[in-house]
C-alpha cells in the first residue's frame, strides 16, 4: 500500500468547534481541551491512501515548525481530499509564521503543510 511520500503537501484549516469552545471554559490545561486541539481531522480517503488509521500519529511541518499529533477521520463529505482540519490552539500556533503582510494578522489558515506518517 502506498505510504506518504516525504513532503506531500496538504492544506491545513484551523478553526473552532463546539468541543473547543466548551473545553476552553473548563481550562486550557484540561484533558478535553488538549485532546481537542491536538487531534487532526483528515479526509477518510486520504487516510486510507496513506495507510493511516484513527489514532496514528502524523508529523505536520511548515517553514515555521513541526508538530506531531494523532489523526482521526472526518465525516465522509466534510473535508475534500488534500484538506486537513485542526481546532485552534498551541499546535496550530506552532505552524504559523510571523509575516503579517502589514496587517498584524499572521497567515493563520489555509497553511501549506508537509505530512508524513510517524
Amino acid at each position: 500500500m502506498t505510504e506518504t511520500k516525504p513532503g506531500e503537501i496538504f492544506i491545513l484549516i484551523p478553526g473552532g468547534t463546539s468541543r473547543h469552545g466548551t473545553s476552553l471554559n473548563e481550562g486550557k490545561f484540561t484533558a478535553a481541551y488538549l485532546e481537542e486541539t491536538s487531534t487532526l481531522s483528515m479526509n477518510p480517503g486520504d487516510m486510507a491512501r496513506l495507510a493511516l488509521k484513527a489514532g496514528d500519529r502524523v508529523r505536520l511541518r511548515t517553514k515555521q515548525g513541526s508538530i506531531e499529533l494523532a489523526c482521526a477521520a472526518a465525516k465522509p463529505d466534510e473535508l475534500p481530499s488534500g484538506l486537513l482540519f485542526l481546532p485552534f490552539g498551541d499546535w496550530t500556533s506552532r505552524l504559523m509564521g510571523t509575516e503579517t503582510h502589514g496587517t498584524g494578522m499572521p497567515d493563520s489558515t489555509a497553511l501549506d503543510v508537509e505530512v508524513e506518517k510517524v
Binding site: G16, S18, N25, E78, M96, T98, M105, T109
Partner: protein
C-alpha cells in the same frame, strides 16, 4: 458567606461570543451557577465553568503576593519600559478597557487588541471601502437572504441563527426560516452547511477571486466558465447566486475568519464589502463580521474613541499613530521590539506564532485573567480577576455595535479588571510624579 438559597438572575448577558445573548436566566447556588436557561452549549460551558477558583489574588515571579505588592511591581515594570505594549482587552468591560488605554497613554505604549489577530484586516478594509451595515435586530425583522462566508456559526456562535439571523419570525419575514434563503460558503462542509439552502464549497485561498467574480457578475460582466474551475464553484452556480442576491429584499453577508485570516486578508474583506456596496444599486444589502470573544467589538469601539483607531496604535510619541504591521503585537513581539507588556483578558502564549511567544517569555509582562492560562504561567506579575458578566457589571458591545449591560450573578472575592487597572494607573502616576486627577477608583 454566600447564601445557600438558589437565586435567579434574569436577563443576564452571556459574554462567551459576540452574540452577547442578554436573555439568560441563571440559577445561582452559593458561588456557582448551576443552570443557564436559554444558553447555548458554549454559554452553558461559560456559566457553569466559571466559578471561584482556589488561586491567590496575585502572583509575582510565580509566588503568591498581595494585591498591593503585585500592583507596585507591575507598575514599575510598565513605567520603566522603553517600548511596552498593551494587548488583549476583548474579554473585559468597556469601563476596564478605558483605564487600560489610560495606562498605555501614561507609559507611551502600543495599544493593540485581539482584533489584530481576528478581524483586524476587516477593520483595515472598512477604512478603505466602508461598511454598509445594520443591526442584528434589522436582520431578524427584514432579512430574506442571509449568507455566511468563511464562518461556522453552528459551532462558534450557536444562537446566531436562532436568535438573530435565519430562524426567527420578524416584522417583514413573518414565516421565519421559510421566508429566508440561507447560503453558506466555506472550504469544508462544516456543521453549518446542512442547515443552509445552498452550500458552496470554495477552494482554499480562492475567496478573493470568487468575490471579484461575483462583483463582475453583479455589474453584468460575462466570465469564461473556467473561472468556476479556478474557484471550485461552477460559474452557473455563481450566476444563480448573484441573481438571488439582486432579487432579495434585504440581504446580508456575514463573514468570519475565513476571509481575514487567509492569504489576501484585508483584500478579501475589501472585495466582500465592495460586493455588498455594489448590490445596493439593486436592493438593500449589508455586511457584518462574525465576532468571537464577547467584548472584542467593545474594544474596537473604546480604542477608536480614545485614539481614533481601532487597534495597532502607538502612543509612544504622545499622540496616536496607527500602523498595522508595525504596532500590532504579533509584529512587535516577533521582531523582539517590545520590552514589556500588559496583557488584559487574552492568552497570546496559547495563540501566537512561536517566535512571538518565545520573545514574550523573555520580557517581563503583566497579565490579568480569571483563569490560569499559558500566558498567566509565564508572567512576571499576574492578577486573578473576577469574571466579567458573571461577577462584575459593566458595558459590552454586541457584534453589531449595540451596547449591552451586564447583570452579574454572584460576587467574587477577586477584584475586577477595572479595579486592578485603576490601582495600576494610580501607582504609575505616583512613580511618574504625576497628580492622580479624577482617579478612576
Amino acid at each position: 458567606m454566600p447564601s445557600a438559597e438558589p437565586k435567579i438572575v434574569e436577563d443576564a448577558t452571556c459574554t462567551f461570543c459576540g452574540c452577547l445573548c442578554d436573555d439568560m436566566v441563571l440559577t445561582v447556588e452559593g458561588d456557582r451557577i448551576t443552570k443557564a436557561k436559554n444558553a447555548c452549549v458554549l454559554g452553558k460551558g461559560w456559566f457553569l465553568g466559571h466559578h471561584i477558583e482556589d488561586r491567590p489574588v496575585a502572583l509575582v515571579d510565580g509566588k503568591p503576593a498581595s494585591l498591593e505588592e503585585a500592583v507596585d511591581r507591575a507598575a514599575r515594570i510598565l513605567a520603566g519600559a522603553r517600548y511596552p505594549t498593551l494587548f488583549g482587552l476583548s474579554d473585559t468591560t468597556c469601563e476596564a478597557q478605558r483605564i487600560a488605554i489610560a495606562i498605555a497613554d501614561r507609559i507611551g505604549s502600543c495599544v493593540d487588541t485581539t482584533t489584530s489577530v481576528c478581524h483586524g484586516p476587516s477593520g483595515m478594509a472598512l477604512q478603505s471601502v466602508g461598511e454598509v451595515t445594520c443591526s442584528l435586530g434589522e436582520v431578524k425583522n427584514r432579512a430574506d437572504f442571509v449568507m455566511f462566508w468563511g464562518s461556522n456559526p453552528a459551532e462558534s456562535q450557536p444562537r446566531h441563527w436562532g436568535r438573530y439571523s435565519t430562524m426567527p419570525r420578524g416584522m417583514f419575514v413573518p414565516n421565519g426560516r421559510k421566508d429566508r434563503t440561507v447560503v453558506v460558503v466555506d472550504v469544508r462542509r462544516s456543521k453549518s452547511a446542512p442547515a443552509a439552502d445552498l452550500f458552496l464549497q470554495i477552494k482554499p485561498r480562492k475567496d478573493f477571486e470568487a468575490l471579484w467574480v461575483l462583483r463582475g457578475l453583479v455589474k453584468g460582466i460575462a466570465f469564461d466558465p473556467q473561472v468556476g474551475d479556478e474557484i471550485g464553484i461552477p460559474l452557473a452556480t455563481l450566476e444563480d447566486l448573484v441573481k438571488r442576491m439582486k432579487q432579495c429584499k434585504f440581504g446580508v453577508l456575514f463573514f468570519g475568519m475565513g476571509l481575514p485570516m487567509t492569504r489576501g486578508k484585508h483584500l478579501n474583506v475589501e472585495a466582500a464589502l465592495a460586493l455588498v456596496r455594489d448590490l445596493n444599486d439593486f436592493t438593500r444589502f449589508y455586511a457584518k463580521p462574525m465576532r468571537g470573544p464577547g467584548n472584542v467589538t467593545g474594544a474596537d469601539n473604546v480604542v477608536s474613541w480614545q485614539t481614533g483607531y481601532p487597534f495597532g496604535v502607538s502612543l509612544q510619541r504622545g499622540y496616536p499613530r496607527f500602523n498595522p504591521g508595525e504596532f500590532t503585537t504579533v509584529d512587535t513581539l516577533s521582531r523582539g521590539e517590545a520590552d514589556a507588556a500588559l496583557i488584559v483578558a487574552a492568552d497570546p502564549m496559547a495563540n501566537f506564532p512561536q517566535p512571538a511567544r518565545d520573545h514574550l517569555a523573555r520580557i517581563p509582562y503583566v497579565v490579568l485573567d480569571p483563569k490560569e492560562t499559558p500566558t498567566v504561567r509565564k508572567a512576571a506579575v499576574s492578577f486573578t480577576t473576577a469574571t466579567y458578566g458573571i461577577n462584575t457589571p459593566g458595558t459590552v458591545y454586541r457584534m453589531d455595535d449595540v451596547p449591552i449591560p451586564l447583570r452579574p450573578a454572584f460576587a467574587s472575592p477577586f477584584p475586577s479588571d477595572q479595579h486592578v487597572l485603576a490601582l495600576l494607573e494610580r501607582r504609575i502616576r505616583e512613580l511618574q510624579g504625576v497628580p492622580a486627577n479624577g482617579s478612576a477608583l
